[in-house]
């Protein structure tokens, strides 16, 4: 029997981060309920995480066992710095960020921004990657303890925890800010310009780093490591070693640097978080610019696919083309391909030159070879095609329209490949041009383009299958980097699997580049194009058959559970 509560001042119990952590664990647990394969994938993910963690642990702990303080400093500063950088950039490029707890869900609750941010931050710490990193950097604690005794070990432990906090805060702040930026349709042009500038900066930066590596001796590198140790990238990781080397005064200063950085990142995050919460429902309504011209059909087809016939295939291509640009999630993927497509080959090929110099002394020319070029191009082609690994997940429940209309699977897959290629093929052409230009070997254009086309084509074929058989639902948030339900590791596994498969299928291009010599300069482009197109068509043919048989099942896997 309920008693009417008449006291107006009910005691409100404070909400602590503990609640968020428990909520996250509960959501993760419920996701596994009755889904044996999810548990299996999760376990595999944990094992892979542990494998990398063990490797990292050995790397960080080795200088301690070897009693080499100089290497310890370098491992801590550079290794730790790479970790922070990785947490900063990888979510943008590859894996997305686990949004098991979608901030928008908390919009209506009477929570202060501070409570919300600390809570979500605490919940973000509950994840496999965080756990793996923690295991890896525990090596630093061992290292510091061996070099400087128990006190250094304890200090290092504090620093390591602070460092992991820094990593998580950085990844959250950056993805959230970037998501907000891309969501606003006004800013997308600005983003494109910004990314172009970043890409342009990579070249000079590359040369500077290369020059430094070439001329530097170990002392110089240790000096650089010490400087990095005073930046937020290295500060938390090096304090244990500072104690070991008798510089205890550095500890509070570096901890302060770390704390201030974490604070600033969380503040930044909370800013963009608020706009994500408020703006989710009414994300920048399109302005009614001008009255529509022409009939409905003319409006559907963008100018880039004006060549397409006005039939089912054409309609699918046109709609996909519109979506690759209008859907923030897909656009983020396109931008990623553009940036990585330029960045990685330049780095690999110029960096490869550096390696060659290092190994063979200074007399060898150290030029990148067609083989190396082909390998880096295959990476780009595979990366571009893997974007389609969950192409039906992008559609979500809207895919029902195609099921109701009974679109044949082969037609569906071919149209999706075509529409994506409308964006990607020009990009790939540009990449080939730029890379052969940067290398100063215009005659290698064919080799680059051929490898790109071949790997992109086989990638399309393999991802045709993956997208039909391994589809998963994406959360219906406006954050293009959001992943669903704590199984991000498993999803990345599938992506990696598809990338490895596609790369393996494109290996003949590398072999040919190595064996055929100058003939290949002419043959690479036609052979690569034929190989790629053939593979893609075959993939669509075979995977389309599978799709025909499991359209309703596919629809239910890509429909977000509510």
């Amino acid at each position: 029997m309920a008693v009417p509560v008449s006291t107006p001042a009910e005691r409100v119990r404070p909400v602590s981060p503990r609640h968020f952590v428990r909520l996250k664990l509960r959501v993760m647990g419920n996701n596994f309920r009755g889904q044996g394969w999810r548990i299996a994938l999760f376990v595999v993910g944990v094992l892979v995480g542990l494998w990398f963690a063990a490797g990292g642990f050995l790397m960080f702990a080795a200088p301690g066992f070897a009693d080499e303080p100089r290497y310890a400093v370098m491992a801590a500063a550079f290794g730790g710095g790479v970790l922070v950088l990785g947490w900063l950039l990888l979510p943008l490029v590859f894996f997305g960020v686990d949004e098991t707890l979608d901030p928008a869900r908390f919009a209506l609750l009477p929570l202060s921004r501070r409570t919300l941010v600390t809570g979500l931050f605490a919940a973000a710490l509950i994840s496999v990657p965080v756990f793996a990193v923690l295991v890896a950097v525990a090596g630093l604690v061992v290292s510091a303890a061996l070099l400087g005794g128990a006190v250094a070990g304890v200090v290092a432990a504090v620093g390591v925890v602070a460092g992991v906090l820094l990593c998580v805060a950085a990844s959250r702040a950056v993805t959230s800010a970037f998501a907000t930026m891309l969501r606003s349709r006004r800013v997308r042009d600005l983003a494109a310009v910004l990314l172009a500038v970043v890409a342009a900066l990579l070249g000079p930066l590359q040369l500077v780093v290369l020059a430094a590596v070439r001329t530097a001796d170990w002392d110089r590198l240790v000096g650089v490591a010490r400087i990095v140790g005073w930046t937020p990238f290295g500060a938390p990781w090096t304090i244990g070693l500072d104690v070991a080397e008798g510089r205890a005064w550095a500890v509070p200063v570096k901890l302060l640097i770390t704390a201030v950085t974490i604070g600033a990142l969380l503040l930044w995050w909370s800013r963009s978080l608020e706009s994500a919460m408020v703006g989710a429902a009414s994300a920048a309504p399109t302005k009614t610019r001008q009255a529509p011209t022409g009939g409905a059909i003319a409006q559907l087809f963008p100018r880039a696919v004006g060549w397409a016939r006005r039939d089912r295939f054409g309609a699918l291509v046109a709609r996909e083309c519109r979506y690759w640009w209008r859907d923030a999630r897909r656009r983020a993927n396109l931008i990623t391909i553009a940036v990585v497509g330029i960045f990685v080959p330049v780095m690999v090929n110029l960096g490869g030159a550096g390696f060659a110099v290092g190994q063979e002394g200074f007399e060898s020319t150290g030029d990148p070879s067609p083989v190396l070029l082909s390998i880096s191009m295959i990476f780009v082609g595979v990366l571009a095609s893997v974007t389609l690994a969950n192409q039906f997940g992008f559609d979500g429940s809207a895919y029902a329209a195609n099921v109701v209309a009974g679109v044949p699977g082969r037609l569906e897959l071919r149209a999706r490949m075509t529409a994506f290629s409308v964006y990607v093929l020009p990009m790939l052409g540009l990449v080939s041009l730029i890379i052969s230009g940067v290398l100063g070997r215009p005659e290698w254009f064919g080799v680059a383009a051929g490898a790109l086309l071949a790997s992109y084509g086989v990638g399309l074929a393999i991802n045709g299958f993956i997208s039909v058989l391994g589809a998963y639902s994406l959360p219906e948030t406006s954050n293009p980097f959001a992943m669903n339900g704590g199984s991000g590791v498993a999803k990345s596994m599938l992506t990696l699997l598809s990338m490895v498969g596609s790369a393996a299928a494109a290996v003949p291009m590398v072999v040919a580049a190595g064996l055929l010599g100058d003939v290949w300069l002419w043959l690479a482009l036609p052979v690569g194009a034929a190989y790629g197109v053939g593979a893609a068509l075959l993939g669509a043919y075979l995977a389309g058959d599978v799709l025909d048989r499991r359209m309703p099942e596919l629809l239910s896997t890509v429909t977000p559970r509510r």
Binding site: V3, T288, A291, P292, D311, A315, L316, D395, S397, A401
Partner: protein
């Protein structure tokens, strides 16, 4: 009844989700030319039943026929005759209304000129022309229902299956949708729709089925099901509602 086949026939449709029975064997025969209301409380299995009937969800048991064509055995012909507006399913909402209609029309294999003409007419009748280049994602709930209906009607189906067409729709739009559906049935089409709004069902339907806990509880013409009482009384009795005693929730009144 016109023709030898019912517009929609369901036999023994059943579906479980993770061991929980959602629909436990539904049989239904929707006569051609009827206006059929599928009534049921939330969670009764209306959406699941209709999804299985139109080929969006594979049933564990049973089958469905659209004008004699097996939905799961001969989907191409069945889907050609069928127009569907699912509920809780997004449209391709990053297109404008006109683009969406063009997409649906071409996807149905229609002639481009016919698509253009019908799309313009539908947008005009449904008062969506003013939306211009607004994306469907930025439409209001009522506008989304209307464009969804337009997509289902565009290819001139013989059977229209609508899941909750009047949910979250303002009275003006609801009246418009009612008019269009009425005209469609008078013109020889068949409409099956789910709802839990009694007034609408009583006003529109020739036939009614009441679905609860995954089975059909009552079925027949509106007069047969209703008898002497109001449809709402019959519904509450069949579904087994519970009336508040006034004791609980006392804290709501201060």
């Amino acid at each position: 009844m016109t023709g030898e086949h019912p517009a929609l026939a369901l036999r023994g449709l059943a579906k479980q989700f993770d061991g929980k029975v959602a629909v436990a064997g539904v049989d239904l025969a929707v006569p051609a030319g009827s206006f059929y209301g599928l009534l049921g409380p939330n969670g009764a299995g209306k959406t699941t039943t209709l999804s299985m009937a139109v080929g969006l969800l594979r049933p564990d048991h049973g089958n469905a026929w659209v004008l004699g064509h097996d939905v799961w055995g001969d989907p191409v012909e069945a889907k050609r005759l069928l127009g569907v507006m699912p509920d809780g399913v997004r449209l391709f909402d990053r297109l404008t209304g006109a683009e969406l209609l063009a997409y649906h029309g071409l996807l149905r294999g229609m002639d481009p000129a016919v698509v253009d003409q019908r799309a313009a007419e539908l947008l005009d009748v449904l008062a969506l022309t003013d939306a211009g280049r607004t994306l469907v994602v930025d439409y209001s709930a009522g506008m989304k229902k209307k464009i969804g209906l337009a997509c289902a009607l565009l290819h001139g189906p013989r059977l229209l299956v609508l899941d909750e067409p009047f949910e979250a729709v303002d009275p003006v739009s609801a009246a418009l949708i009612r008019d269009i559906l009425h005209r469609y049935v008078v013109g020889g089409g068949t409409v099956v729709f789910s709802s839990h709004v009694m007034e609408v069902v009583e006003r529109l339907c020739s036939h009614v089925a009441i679905l609860a806990d995954g089975t059909i509880k009552r079925v027949g013409t509106l007069a047969e099901v209703r008898g002497e009482r109001s449809l709402e009384d019959v519904f509450v009795e069949v579904v087994g509602g519970r009336t508040a005693t006034g004791e609980e929730l006392a804290w709501l009144s201060r």
